[in-house]
């Protein structure tokens, strides 16, 4: 496959994606003409591009699709969901045809062709033929008669002494909006010959208030030197023929023709005359002469009388339909070249493993930097200290930019779901609307790649089992249209992706019953709502019975959970019966290096991710309540806390003054009581071995500058332990004490 074809395939796939997106939006807003244009443009571009690389089967197919879109644009046919469905089918088919091209086959195989034909015949039958007879006839437009200039008789008076073509152009207001830029045509024109002189006529531009910046007001008078014949020059503008006024005067045209031209143009005759003189089409004497003649004879007759047999026949070019491929091809080719250049300037493709290697190295650099820092501060040399602190800052910046290299927006992943939701909801006979928020949220590329499958699972599940059928919804007093939302946002050092629906929610009792049946929980055990909801992630929970027996979901939720945990993330489910379910996927922002906060308990050091630290305060004995309760009063708020010494069973007496690090995880605050606060620390995360996989509360390890190992605390788990303890002690029937906050 040559380079041009590769570019065509890549760009056409992008165009198809844009077209698909626009079609989906169009279905929701059928009246939006911008959207119709947004659908039309890609189809058009693809057809043109296919023409350039002479891929006829794509041209043929796209042509009919484009006809339908053109009718849509002109308001001849209306947008309906049937039409959108067929057009989406056309999108898919073009995608398949592109694959054929990519595979290097000369023609699509039988099946594919049959598929294409059936799509086309549907389009033809239901939309194209509906309003107008035989639109297929226009598929092969008539070429205008080619007028050769060779046999022009350059003799006698009345002929203007010039060897150049004169081209007079006035563009319609709509050309820019339709994605056609006059520059492109003029540049293409210059490939046929030489633009000797061009004069830009902006006279049509109205005053500033009325001027529409998206409309085109320009006209051009061009002196053109070329050996091409008239048809070829005309063909340059075929593509905008409907939207521009074009006059072409061949070399050595009669003066009267110029005069007729002056009159045909919208601008003031005198001004135009000057322009013609300026560009050298006429001399001043010829102009004066011509204008005199014109005043002497009434203009209608003037042309005929002054020139008995017009040597070139009709000079004012009639609007004729010519095959647009030629020009279109030129435009696209040009565009491809310039866009490719621009894109190359902005983007560099590099292999992902090179990037990984860089990030590994940066990680080592951070560790080495920390060690240097430590040595410098021990040495107590102020010069050295200064130098290392500068070095440190630079290392930090390098680390941040290295990590930034891997960040991509999640929007593209989200947008794929528009089509999924549309197709699945059709399949299920439900009316479901997808809303997307936070598409600009960035996260690590490798995470984005791996999150697609779990998301797909959750989205399909939500549509299949979460959202009820329209009848059920109406019976429940909800809007018949189900809502599904995808939302991404940053929250204290992690990224959260929510998949929420407004369906029936999880049925607590059924889940509990099922779990007891499966032996996942003991009958009679007291479980919080949250714990019950989390049962759906248990392996084996779903595999046995048909999911539809449950109100909620179940298929493969354990797989979803495992995939997400593989990314060091977690998934939570919040459900409100009758109102819907929300799955929150929480993923770490970066995979390798974080800003940490170093704390000490006894002789060991621990790292808390700095993003999660809200504040630090001294633990005051009187602010805590009596020994058995682990919460304190933080400015009137109940703050559950956990002692690292208790958690890790560190022996010995705590120091007199303990500190509390207030952390926030998953929207909940908790305190971690430590002995000492040691300050910020750049932390390179080293995973713990398989052996420690089941440890709760530890997220990994890191190496300090001194060479010691410090454990990285899994703040979320710790916060849950702290909060969970409180909840359990409250929920337990034995506990009758209501929590009381002791006042300071």
């Amino acid at each position: 496959m040559d380079e041009l074809t590769t570019v065509f395939v890549t760009e056409s796939r992008e165009q198809l994606a844009a077209m698909e997106e626009a079609l989906l939006q169009l279905e929701a807003n059928p009246e939006d003409s911008d959207l119709i244009n947004a659908v039309f443009r890609p189809a058009h571009t693809i057809k043109g591009g296919a023409g350039v690389i002479e891929c006829n089967f794509i041209v043929a197919f796209t042509h009919v699709a484009e006809n339908a879109l053109d009718k849509l644009r002109n308001g001849d046919i209306k947008v309906s969901s049937d039409l959108v469905a067929v057009l989406l089918g056309c999108c898919d088919h073009i995608g398949n045809l592109l694959s054929v091209l990519e595979a290097g086959a000369a023609e699509p195989d039988e099946d594919l062709r049959a598929e294409g034909d059936s799509l086309l015949s549907r389009l033809q039958r239901d939309w194209l033929d509906a309003k107008e007879e035989a639109p297929a006839a226009s598929v092969q437009p008539n070429r205008p008669p080619v007028e050769k200039v060779d046999d022009v008789q350059a003799s006698g008076g009345g002929l203007v002494e010039t060897d150049f073509w004169h081209i007079s152009l006035r563009f319609g207001a709509g050309v820019l909006r339709n994605g056609m830029d006059p520059i492109s045509f003029l540049r293409y024109l210059s490939t046929l010959g030489q633009i000797v002189h061009i004069e830009t006529i902006p006279d049509a531009m109205p005053s500033a208030e009325e001027m529409d910046p998206e409309a085109c007001y320009l006209g051009f008078e061009i002196k053109f030197k070329s050996d091409a014949d008239k048809a070829a020059i005309e063909a340059v503008f075929d593509f905008v023929r409907d939207e521009c006024t074009l006059h072409i005067l061949p070399p050595n045209s009669k003066l009267a023709d110029y005069i007729a031209l002056l009159q045909a143009l919208p601008e003031n005759t005198m001004r135009l005359g000057e322009i013609l003189v300026k560009i050298g089409a006429l001399t001043q004497a010829e102009l004066d002469d011509g204008l005199k003649q014109q005043h002497a004879v009434p203009p209608e007759e003037g042309g005929e009388e002054a020139s008995p047999p017009p040597p070139l026949g009709e000079i004012l070019i009639e609007q004729k339909v010519v095959q647009p491929e030629l020009v279109e091809a030129a435009v696209i080719k040009q565009k491809q070249v310039s866009e490719k250049k621009a894109a190359e300037a902005r983007l560099i493709r590099i292999q992902a493993d090179k990037l990984d290697r860089l990030i590994d190295l940066v990680g080592e650099l951070v560790i080495a930097g920390a060690s240097t820092n430590l040595l410098a501060s021990r040495a107590g040399l102020s010069d050295l200290n200064e130098a290392t602190s500068l070095l440190n800052r630079l290392v930090e910046q390098i680390r941040d930019s290295a990590l930034q290299l891997r960040m991509v927006q999640i929007g593209e992943t989200f947008n794929r779901f528009q089509r999924v939701v549309r197709d699945v909801s059709k399949e299920l006979g439900k009316d479901i609307e997808l809303t997307i928020a936070g598409g600009e949220t960035e996260l690590d590329k490798s995470v984005v790649e791996k999150i697609g499958d779990p998301l797909m699972h959750l989205v399909r599940n939500a549509m299949d089992h979460g959202i009820e059928s329209a009848e059920v919804r109406q019976a429940k007093g909800k809007s018949p249209r189900g809502r599904l939302s995808l939302n991404a946002y940053h929250d204290s050092g992690s990224i959260v992706i929510d998949v929420a629906d407004d369906g029936g929610g999880l049925n607590r009792d059924k889940i509990l019953k099922k779990a007891v049946e499966k032996g996942l929980v003991q009958a009679g055990v007291h479980l919080s709502d949250q714990e019950i909801a989390n049962l759906i992630f248990e392996p084996g929970f779903s595999t046995v019975d048909k999911v539809s027996n449950l109100s909620g979901r179940g298929v493969g939720m354990d797989v979803v959970k495992r995939n997400i945990q593989g990314l060091r993330g977690r998934v939570e489910v919040h459900s409100e019966e009758g109102h819907g379910t929300r799955f929150s996927i929480r993923l770490p922002l970066t995979l390798a290096i974080i800003d940490g906060f170093l704390v000490g308990a006894d002789r060991a050091s621990y790292v808390i991710p700095l993003d999660m630290v809200v504040e630090c305060l001294e633990l005051q004995a009187h602010a805590t309540s009596s020994g058995e309760r682990n919460y304190l009063n933080l400015r009137g708020e109940v703050l559950p806390f956990i002692r690292l010494r208790d958690l890790f069973e560190i022996p010995g007496e705590p120091p007199k003054r303990e500190n509390v690090v207030v952390v926030k995880a998953a929207g909940q605050k908790a305190g971690i009581v430590v002995d000492t606060l040691l300050g910020e620390f750049q932390t390179v995360i080293k995973p713990l071995g398989q052996l420690f996989r089941h440890l709760r509360g530890i997220g990994g390890s890191t190496i300090l500058g001194s060479g010691d190992v410090a454990l990285i605390l899994d703040v979320q788990a710790l916060a849950q332990i702290a909060i969970g303890r409180e909840e359990r002690s409250l929920a337990a029937p034995s506990s009758v004490n209501t929590p009381r906050i002791s006042q300071v």
């Binding site: 830029d181 006059p182 061009i198 910046p213 998206e214 320009l218 051009f220």
Partner: protein, 102 residues
């Protein structure tokens, strides 16, 4: 604020995609001063819509007895003005059109 020199620096492409906002920006800038300097040195791409805006600004300035000057051209802008043979109209210091006559 109706006197003095004001400079606008265009950082985005001068294309139809930005034309609406840029028109407003040009007109506002022109309304605030007598002498508008337009810095186009950062413009990566310019199309007919962008070109029209420059024309409009220039013409509007002349109507209001003000001046609007392009003080720096990016290669793309220079190329386009040259192509349209409009460098003289703008009359701003610029590399002389390289187009050969005849």
């Amino acid at each position: 604020m109706s006197t003095g020199t004001h400079r606008v620096t265009i950082l985005d492409d001068l294309t139809i995609y930005n034309a609406l906002t840029q028109k407003a920006a040009f007109m506002e800038a022109l309304g605030q001063c007598r002498d508008l300097e337009i810095d186009l040195s950062h413009v990566g791409e310019v199309d007919t819509a962008g070109f029209q805006l420059l024309l409009l600004t220039k013409r509007e300035a002349a109507l209001q007895n003000k001046t609007a000057r392009i003080v720096a051209h990016s290669p793309a802008v220079r190329e386009l003005l040259d192509f349209f043979n409009m460098a003289a109209f703008f009359g701003d210091p610029l590399v002389i059109p390289a187009r050969e006559q005849g």
